[in-house]
Symmetry: C2
Subunit: 164 residues, 2 copies
Amino acid sequence: MADKAIQDYYPDEFAHCYGCGPLNEAGMKIKSYWDGEEAVCHFTPKPCHSGGVPGFAYGGLIASLIDCHGAATASAAKLREKGYSLGEKPLPRFVAASIKVDYLKPTPLGTTLEVRARVKEIKDRKVTVSVTLSAAGEICAKGEELFIQLQQWSVQTGYPKPVE
Amino acid sequence: MADKAIQDYYPDEFAHCYGCGPLNEAGMKIKSYWDGEEAVCHFTPKPCHSGGVPGFAYGGLIASLIDCHGAATASAAKLREKGYSLGEKPLPRFVAASIKVDYLKPTPLGTTLEVRARVKEIKDRKVTVSVTLSAAGEICAKGEELFIQLQQWSVQTGYPKPVE
């Protein structure tokens, strides 16, 4: 697996996400890597990341992992579609337009979670991604997501404008 | 509005959620209250809760708020359906089976977010909830969620068993 994660190629101005931004010092800094046709992310939650019951993860953490890992996968897939490897060209940055998470079973803490993403479709600047989140080999949650590529930074709004 | 939030009535064994558990010292401790037929939650993100771009919230935070506030709404609605007010009977605890979040526009930081939930259906131990998340009066995200009431704590698994 590569030394540098997909997120490590995010342009600095888009690298501040609490979930996945290398420049967010307080954040979770998740890391995603190509693994063949899928992208994989490993994350070990802290005990404080519990759901209502100690020892199991809260739903928001699971949604965060699925969201951020899916966005990284969309970015890397878009670059790959254009025929480039990571680092060869600036990485396009995607944000979620919609995510659906099905919580299939309780996700335990105290173990490393594996998040796997697979691109279902790339259509212009829209990328749909399917994600699974597993603990000890068992799928605990599934995600279906639609991401949209950001086109440009808007000085006026301070926010990158989504592509029309 | 009531002094005590819905979450303040969670039984201690179910009060450890990072997003909404009163007993999770490191957590966000969101608070939900009835406001007529809706339940409302106000939350002010920290600067570190940014998405890729500083000044706007990351998607996982938005999903967390929608998840936790929806779960509280489901709990309180189930109690109300039985004819009881908060505090009159132990509050049933719900967990998400599925959430869908549509991100309609960037959610700014630096302001208090308002999350509003409305129960669409209560069917036995399943409750469906619709949620909006707004900043400065503008809806930035919408959620549709299915929650399932937990029935009992399982000593064997350390996790409350979802109801069959």
